[in-house]
């Protein structure tokens, strides 16, 4: 399946999903947060695509644009096809729907993103800190994170 065909199938399945303008080395689509769960479900279940591996999920903090970019890396063993799905949420209200009902691993990947970047997941079954203690304040991978403990490398 070529990349054009892939995008064609995806827009057919979910009209709000668009090919991303961002430079990336994998085929990339952007989707609004409301349509994320529906799109992911179809990406996995549609027999033409069958993206049944969620390789990675993480987020990027774009401080200047005041956005969080959620990144999902999918792989389809059947077509040997990669796909990156991007979702943008505002930095002051970072809420994304959870996809842990589609891939079990998403539950834990999402907990990691919540722990380190403070993105909230709607309907998440068990949203807890993962690496840090429950009483930790702040989200260390945010670009705005301040901590007296951190030591800067001398220039």
């Amino acid at each position: 399946m070529t990349t054009e065909e892939l995008f064609q199938v995806i827009t057919e399945l979910e009209p709000s999903a668009k090919q991303s303008e961002k430079t990336s080395d994998r085929p990339t689509v952007e989707v609004p947060p409301e349509a994320l769960v529906a799109l992911m479900q179809k990406l996995r279940d549609d027999p033409r695509l069958s993206f049944n591996m969620l390789l990675a999920h993480t987020a990027v903090d774009w401080l200047e644009e005041r956005l969080f970019e959620m990144v999902y890396q999918l792989y389809s063993p059947q077509n040997q096809q990669y796909l990156a799905v991007l979702v943008y949420v505002p930095r002051n209200n970072p809420v994304v729907p959870t996809i842990s009902s589609i891939w079990r691993i998403a539950e834990f990947q999402e907990r990691e993103v919540y722990d380190l970047l403070g993105v909230l997941y709607d309907e998440h079954p068990d949203l807890r800190r993962l690496f840090l203690e429950d009483d930790w304040t702040g989200f260390p991978l945010r670009k705005s994170y301040q901590d007296d403990f951190i030591l800067e490398r001398p220039k």
Partner: protein, 386 residues
């Protein structure tokens, strides 16, 4: 909309009340973070009914070293040395993952020689990693001898690698643009000697462990996981292949010179602990085959195409690259703004994803089985926590 943030305390409280209709009393037991069978500082809160496991709640973070934060302040060459410390038993393959992604993004052309050297040292390291996994598995199941056998043979691999690389564990060998040093003049000879030595030893391993009825009973039909569950839990590497999914990056999108080597992908049939154990044994055989085919054909050429002092700049964009380490797929996600340091760096580590399989396969079994399961998943904890 419902976003509900809980804590571990609440989590353990809620679940203990959930099944209170049962007559038997359920209780929580802490396993770790200081426990010899968790290979480090993994902590698991077990919900037990008698000796039967009802639920496993892994608690992480006892070795969370904030590698991703440090990466945002480091050049790509400095990042490579941090990856050594994640999955230290596959350090060369971790280096490779970063180098591969950076090279693809920055369009760095490599010589044939570099690819050959990389593939051979990576396979040597895969052998030594599986030897440790094999030995430690024996130790976890109560047999000390495999540990001694495994480490006896591993020392010889580290000797070969040390002669070329200068380190025994944290190699920092593969760099964006090549490898740090050319191979030692003795390298080819020693590798051949080692292969001749190790092949019969592998049969000895089998005599010692595989045929042992106790080992068989502890591993067979314990922790069975089907392919669909494994995919849903994001498992990769020997864990996924033991569940009958032939997903091996070396085969499906060959990097290095894996495309030139003839080897088979070992897969299991049932997906139990035994299959995970045996897939590793078979992978050692295949690694030997790969090395044998490549070792005589290392072409001449440069071993480094970039001067060590050059700061590598990655053009703006998002890049994802991955390799097959001894434990599964290590993915590297770089968000670059065109500088010599990344804007954001994310590691998709194999152990983080493999770990959660315990929450699916351990419930229903006994505590002793959990030890066999964690041993068969071959977890390296710093790779989970980063």
């Amino acid at each position: 909309m419902s976003v509900n943030i809980t804590t571990l305390d609440e989590r353990t409280r809620v679940t203990s009340e959930a099944d209170s209709a049962l007559d038997t009393e359920e209780y929580f037991v802490n396993m770790g973070p200081q426990h010899p069978a968790t290979h480090g500082v993994l902590r698991m809160v077990l919900k037990l009914d008698g000796e039967t496991i009802k639920e496993v709640i892994p608690v992480l973070g006892y070795i969370h070293r904030s590698i991703e934060k440090i990466c945002e302040h480091s050049t790509y060459r400095q990042i490579v040395h941090l990856t050594d410390r994640m999955d230290y038993l596959s350090s060369i393959m971790n280096n490779w993952a970063v180098s591969l992604t950076v090279e693809k993004a920055a369009n760095i052309e490599l010589t044939e020689r570099i690819e050959y050297i990389r593939t051979i040292v990576a396979e040597l390291e895969r052998i030594h990693s599986h030897q440790v996994a094999w030995g430690v598995m024996g130790m976890d199941l109560g047999a000390f001898t495999p540990f001694l056998y495994g480490f006896r043979d591993r020392e010889l691999v580290t000797d070969i690698l040390e002669e070329t690389i200068g380190a025994r564990l944290t190699m920092n060998y593969i760099q964006p643009g090549g490898v740090m040093f050319d191979i030692h003049p003795n390298f080819v000879k020693k590798v051949k000697e080692y292969i001749a030595y190790f092949r019969p030893k592998l049969d000895e391993y089998e005599d010692l462990m595989s045929g042992n009825p106790i080992i068989q009973q502890r591993l067979r039909d314990v922790g069975t996981m089907d392919g669909e569950t494994a995919l849903s839990y994001g498992a990769t590497g020997p864990v996924l292949r033991a569940s009958r999914v032939p997903y091996d990056l070396r085969k499906i999108e060959p990097y290095g010179v894996y495309g030139k080597a003839d080897f088979n992908v070992a897969i299991g049939t049932a997906g139990d602990c035994w299959d995970r154990y045996y897939v590793r044994i078979e992978e050692m055989r295949q690694s030997i085959r790969i090395i044998e085919q490549l070792i005589d054909n290392i072409p001449e050429g440069k071993f480094m195409v970039k001067k060590p002092a050059v700061k590598i700049k990655v053009p703006e964009g998002r890049y994802y690259g991955h390799v097959e380490t001894a434990r599964g797929v290590l993915g590297v996600f770089i968000v670059s703004q065109g500088k010599d340091i990344p804007y954001r760096m994310y590691f998709r580590t194999p152990n983080f994803h493999n770990l959660w399989c315990t929450t699916a396969i351990a419930p229903g079994g006994r505590i002793g089985d959990l030890v066999a399961i964690t041993a068969s998943l071959d977890l390296v904890i710093p790779d989970i926590d980063r």
